[in-house]
Symmetry: C2
DNA sequence: CACTTATCTGGAAACGTTTCCACACATGGT
DNA sequence: ACCATGTGTGGAAACGTTTCCAGATAAGTG
């Protein structure tokens, strides 16, 4: 029933050499005579031999597998990261194990444990609500980790992110240039670095423009459509005056637009709205959404390449922090403030 | 540097029993005295022991890992499947390796090979363009496989799908009931089972209603927005008369709506449009899209449960084909044909 | 009471690799 | 001629489990 896999032993016999020699050929390690090497390669080819990764992993070696931990693959933004990671991994012969945490710290921790036990060679993680202490633990214990999209300020670990502060600054500055002063900030979860950094960018743009900061205009929720919709309705009902919205991601922004429209108000005539991410649906929204574009797929790729570098050369070098430049994409959801 | 993991041996020493006994306790196999069992459990708890899955896999056992092969995780429909699979897997202590094929047969094949070598315990696959012979090979060689969403008619392998024919039938019947007769069919790739089955449903509904079938109204492309948009523009430019569109998925349907609107025509006043899938954005479209809802997440879960069943009881039983019932969701993209 | 059968346990082989160690043989410098 | 060094190879331990086999004891059967 079960296919009899050819093992290193078969190859050794066929090539008339020892198992050790075959192993050396496979791993390109130690000394092997060119002729012997050729003989072994030949045998490998003929027998169609593929080393068993499990056994490889056991013998103190590597599993050629990395873990990818995301909040929720269902959430529009993350598939692109996942795709970037996987594509980069495949090129180098690595395979990706996926885990969703739903932003629940306990899930994150349990996944971290599973992956450690599975002997993955490294982990890429878009951190959820935990404080990241477990992550630090892992890296110091020798397991390479790189943070993607979301960071933990306290951790000294490789990371790949966008310049969230700069992106937000650009967005809000744009609104200010259009004459807006009462600008609503709609954030995601407060414990997520991207929300914090984008809020900082928002504050910086206002301060720099001499606009007083009104804490009543700063609201949080999560990174989903419903959050944007609900927050905006609340603000509308409280009667807080504002003329523009800067949302911490596109889903929130689109939720906000729909909320505004549900009250028979108009974007951008009554309110200007800017998002963040530039997901596929941003340009399809009506009006098409002005937003800050991040190279999401590239973030995934770069994170993976960083990780693979670390795996291959575990020289304890300084952690690297790659920060990608975001771009403001002007579309039709923003307009000059009408007097 | 490296954390010294506790092994089964440590547990055995601590509990004053043999390694074999510990193994039996862990796997709930063979005879173990209740008292001994308790002692071992205690030791396991105290030492915080977790069996090493690699070693487990080596000892002729299982890797507790399954492979999931999808066309493209970036394509809106598949994240839900992935999520369903992962959630079901996690519950039972399994872990998921993800692979994207971009509908390229060669990629699919190479992933199949990688997964086989990785000694995954089973594979779930939404087949790409290949004919599936490699898949058949795998199953007959003893590796459990279940097909999800897309099937290969020639293969006798477990599968989980929607009743695509029925769903399409419902959708088109609905259009017919509204008075439409010239109904455009916009399919995905012709070699994909879902396109074929949905086309069958379309044809059945027309036949049953005594409406002659016009091959000029049947078009294919792929399952993306752009495909729907482009096909519809083409049809419009050819001047083919039609009053309604049945699209093989929501992305195509939304593309079609946008194409119609780009020519200053209106949905549903000028054309009715029905989609398939009921993705998140369907209800946000303007007008909200009438579509055939599939339980995508559940399809993933069920596929995974089926697979895990097979893994646990490899009794060579008849392949099971689970077909889920789709539901027509009426929204505002369809209206009675105005005379 | 002798004999099967069920319950319980430990020893050791096996899984497929990597890696450490030891040995053999050249080579070249003194 | 001698020794350090570089090159090439095989044997065997180690990785952490599962599983098979053989004993040992207890319990039931005629």
């Amino acid at each position: 029933m079960k296919i009899a896999k050819t093992t290193i032993k078969d190859v050794a016999e066929k090539a008339q050499v020892s198992i050790s020699t075959v192993s050396r050929v496979i791993n390109n390690s130690g000394y092997v005579n060119a002729e012997t090497k050729h003989k072994v390669m030949e045998a490998i080819r003929e027998l169609d031999f593929e080393p068993n990764p499990l056994a490889k992993g056991l013998g103190g070696g590597k599993s050629n597998t990395i873990g990818l931990i995301l909040p929720d693959i269902t959430n529009l933004f993350f598939p692109s990261i996942a795709r970037g990671v996987e594509d980069a991994a495949t090129v180098q012969g690595y395979t990706v194990i996926l885990g969703n945490t739903d932003n629940v710290a306990a899930n994150e921790e349990s996944y971290l444990n599973v992956l450690e036990r599975k002997s993955v060679d490294g982990i890429i993680i878009a951190g959820s609500s935990s404080d990241g202490s477990r992550i630090q633990e892992l890296t110091t214990s020798g397991l390479p980790v790189v943070l993607v999209d979301r960071t933990f300020p306290s951790l000294t670990i490789d990371s790949v992110t966008s310049d969230n502060l700069e992106g937000a600054y650009l967005a809000v500055k744009h609104l200010v240039t259009l004459g807006h002063e009462k600008i609503l900030f709609l954030g995601g979860g407060t414990n997520i670095s991207t929300t914090q950094e984008r809020e900082q960018g928002y504050l910086k743009a206002l301060r720099e423009s001499g606009i007083p900061i009104n804490r009543n205009l700063i609201h949080y929720g999560d990174y989903r459509f419903e959050s944007g919709f609900d927050r905006l309705i609340e603000v509308l009902e409280k009667g807080l005056p504002f003329t523009a919205v800067f949302a911490a991601n596109d889903l929130i922004a689109i939720g906000a637009i729909r909320a505004i429209q549900s009250r028979n108000l108009h974007v951008p005539q009554d309110f200007s709205v800017v998002g963040f991410d530039d997901i596929f649906w941003a340009k399809l929204e009506r009006p098409p959404l002005t937003t800050v574009a991040q190279p999401i797929y590239r973030m995934g790729m770069i994170a993976c390449e960083l990780l693979l570098d670390k795996i291959k050369l575990p020289s304890q070098q300084e952690p690297r922090h790659i920060v990608l430049k975001p771009d403001l994409v002007l579309r039709q959801s923003t307009a000059a403030l009408s007097l």
